[in-house]
Every structure is written in structure tokens, then in C-alpha cells.
């Protein structure tokens, strides 16, 4: 690998890294609460609600995110009613916004599955104890179910964070210039496909090592003295 290729590529990729980071941060900040809400809805007794949440998760987990991002950006862009609605068009018309939307919708479905199983595996007695104390449904969730489920879900969720960071690269297919977007330009310019690719991967790896190790630390923090 030539040094001048690295020095040429890195500034571009750094610029892209900012966008990747932006998409990922939004993906986690919006996708996590959204996913947890979905998980709660799926466990709720209202058949209508829980069925719709089930279907939502099945669809978004069952289809490639590339297609989801395409449908949101190119597909909806073909519909003139959407083009003329300023609010929707602000989200869908703008490639970065559309990319964030796609990431959030997608990760929400996966996060919901992670939290659903975590919630299901909680020992029943612990929940009964909080019901017996007269804690409301919300307080039971907030102070007993949620903290226990988070601890249970954390290893799986850390993977999901790594996936968010990597899947954000699909934003390049709708013209967002994040790391991969720049990488594609650099590749077609220089044909140094492998070299650019390895440099690019180093960027993703760096971001993920940081997020995965910090999640590991949180995990250790939440081990309740064990």
C-alpha cells in the first residue's frame, strides 16, 4: 500500500466518518427507544397492537435494508403526493434524512426482538414482587423490568450497535457521502480497490471497537456486584 494513497484517501474518509457517526448516533438515540417501545407493544395484551408490531418487525427484519432504503428514497420519491407534502418530503426528499429514517426503522425492529426475549426471560417472581408492592405498570417497567432486561439484552444489543455503524454505509446508495460514499469515489478514481477498502474498514473497525468496548464496560458496570 502506497503512503501517498493513504494520505490522499484519509482526509476524504475522515469527512465521511462524521456523517457515518451522525447516522449511527441518530440510529441508536432514536432506534433504541423505538425498539423498546415496539418490544413493549409486542408483549401487550391488546391483540391488534401486538399483532401490528409483530408484522412490522417481521417485515423490517425479513427484508434487506438496501431494499428498505431504496423504497423509502427512490420509491416514495416517485409518488407526487409525497413530493408535495413539505413535512414528509423534508424527511424523504433529503438523502441524509431518508438514510437516518431507514436506519431507525430497521434497527428498531431488531432491537425490539432483542428486548422482547430479554423481557420474556425475566423471573416472574421479581415482577410479582413489584406488583405486590403496588408499583404501577409503568413503575414496574421502569424500575424492575427495564433494568433487568437491559442487563440481559446488552450483549446482543452491542452487536446491533456495530451493525448500525456498518449498515449506515448503505446510505451511500442514496448519495449520502459517508465513509463508504467517499470510498466508492476513491475506488473508481484510483482502482486501488483493495487498498481503499482496507483503509475504509479500518475506519469502521475503529468506530466499532470504541462502541463495543464502551458497551462492554457498561455491561460490567451493570453486573450488580457479581
Amino acid at each position: 500500500m502506497e503512503l501517498d494513497l493513504v494520505t490522499y484517501a484519509v482526509p476524504f474518509l475522515l469527512a465521511g466518518a462524521k456523517t457515518t457517526l451522525l447516522i449511527s448516533v441518530f440510529g441508536v438515540a432514536l432506534g433504541l427507544p423505538f425498539g423498546i417501545a415496539l418490544a413493549v407493544i409486542r408483549a401487550s395484551k391488546n391483540r391488534m397492537l401486538s399483532r401490528s408490531a409483530d408484522i412490522y418487525c417481521a417485515v423490517f427484519r425479513g427484508t434487506p435494508m438496501l431494499v428498505q432504503i431504496f423504497v423509502i428514497y427512490y420509491g416514495l420519491g416517485q409518488i407526487s403526493a409525497i413530493r408535495s407534502n413539505p413535512v414528509i418530503w423534508w424527511i424523504v426528499g433529503h438523502s441524509l434524512h431518508a438514510a437516518i429514517l431507514a436506519v431507525v426503522l430497521n434497527t428498531g425492529a431488531y432491537t425490539a426482538e432483542i428486548f422482547r426475549t430479554a423481557l420474556l426471560s425475566l423471573p416472574r417472581g421479581l415482577i410479582e414482587a413489584s406488583q405486590a408492592c403496588g408499583l404501577s405498570v409503568w413503575a414496574t417497567f421502569r424500575h424492575v423490568k427495564f433494568p433487568l432486561a437491559v442487563r440481559q439484552a446488552l450483549p446482543a444489543y452491542s452487536s446491533e450497535v456495530a451493525i448500525i455503524v456498518k449498515e449506515s454505509s448503505l446510505a451511500s446508495t442514496i448519495t449520502v457521502l459517508e465513509i463508504t460514499g467517499y470510498a466508492k469515489r476513491l475506488m473508481s478514481e484510483t482502482f486501488a480497490i483493495m487498498d481503499i477498502f482496507i483503509i475504509t474498514s479500518a475506519f469502521y473497525l475503529m468506530m466499532n471497537v470504541i462502541s463495543l468496548t464502551s458497551l462492554k464496560l457498561i455491561e460490567r458496570k451493570l453486573s450488580f456486584g457479581k
Binding site: 425479513g62 434487506p64 422482547r116 425475566l122 450483549p155 482496507i198
Partner: protein, 237 residues
Amino acid sequence: MSFDLWVLLVEQGWGFALLRGATVTLAVGLLGMLAGVIVAVPLALLRWRRLPLFSQAVDGYSILVRGVPGLLVIYLLFFGSIEWVQRLATAFGYQNSADSAYPFVIGVVAIAAISCAYSIEVFRGALEAVPVGLLEAAKSLALPRYVTFFHVTLPIALRLALGGLNNVWQMTIKDTSLVSVVGMQELMRSAAIAAGITRSPLLFYCAAAGMFFALTAISQALFSHTERFFNRGFSRG
């Protein structure tokens, strides 16, 4: 429109091309997931038992593979090895089979490597959630380690791991699109070619998504069934 569909999917044969792609996807996905899980179980176990050096190595592997784009994994595996394999194959006079079988093998290996890294985390989390007392009970009864593992740890951990494994599977079946890198025409690549040639990207991408959904819907049903099986003996929380 319906006439267009007929022409595109049947007369021009793109529908069959997608189906052919779907079989490649399914084959690579199933084999990759299976191999990945089989390797992940012992690795997760080593990690869980905190074997010095081993668990660091497992952690390193898992962070590395989860941290880099899947494309890099397959790029490096394939382009890093193909020359040697071809040399070997030529030396033994198997040039042709190396050409056709090797990409498939590498595709499966790459998918397995990725699904393995994710499965390790899933299993590790599940293993850590198995109540210590239940394992102590097994120890105190002098159960051999493998019995404790297969009859106590695994059934309880599997129940906890099922949701996570389901997620890994859903991800893996879609990660099979990576094997297009080694020249295999899986579902997404077939859709991409059809989209480019016929200039109907939305149609073909949605058709591909539909096929993915059909595959995952079947597997989802299987998972739900298994979940019910593993939940025997546990009151629902």
C-alpha cells in the same frame, strides 16, 4: 402493467433468475449459519469460562469481525487465498473444480465467520444469564462437565439465546448478498442485474425483498415453534 410483469418475469426469464438466486442465497445462508453456530458454541463456552488467553482471543475475533464490514471479510478471505488455491489445484490438475467450487466454499466460510462472531455474543450473553445455583446443583451431583453442559446449561441458555439467534439468522440470510463479490449470483445480485438491464429497479428489488421475506417467514415460524418448546417448565413472566 400486468402484461409488463409477465414479459419481464417469465418471457425474459428474470423471475426464474431471481428464483435461482434465492436457492444460492438459501444454500449459502443455511450452511453459513449452521457452521457459524457450531463453531460459536465452544468458543462462547471458552469465553464464558474465562479461560485466560483463549477468552481474549475469542473477544478479539468477535470484535474484529463484528467491527469491520462484511465485504472486507469476504474480500480478504477470497482474494487473499485464491492464488494459492489455484496454484494448488492446478498442480493437482483440478483447475476447473477450483474455479467453480472454490467461490462457493469461500462464500460459506465468510458467512460462517460472520454469523459465528455474532452468535458468540448471543451465546455468551445467554450463558451468563443461566442462574449459578442451577450449575452448582449439577456440580454437587458430580455430573460430568459435558452432561452439565448438554443437559443443564445448554437447554436453559438456548431458551435465552433463541431471540438473539433468530436475529443473527435474519441478518445472515441477508448477508449472503456478500457472496456476489466472489462471482456468485445470489438473490440480491440477480435483482441488481435485472434492475439495471430492465431499468425497473424498484420492481426487482421489491421482488427480491419479497423472496427474502418468504424465506424469513418460514424460518420465523420454526423459531416460534422452538421457542414454545424451550419455554416448557418456565412460567411466562
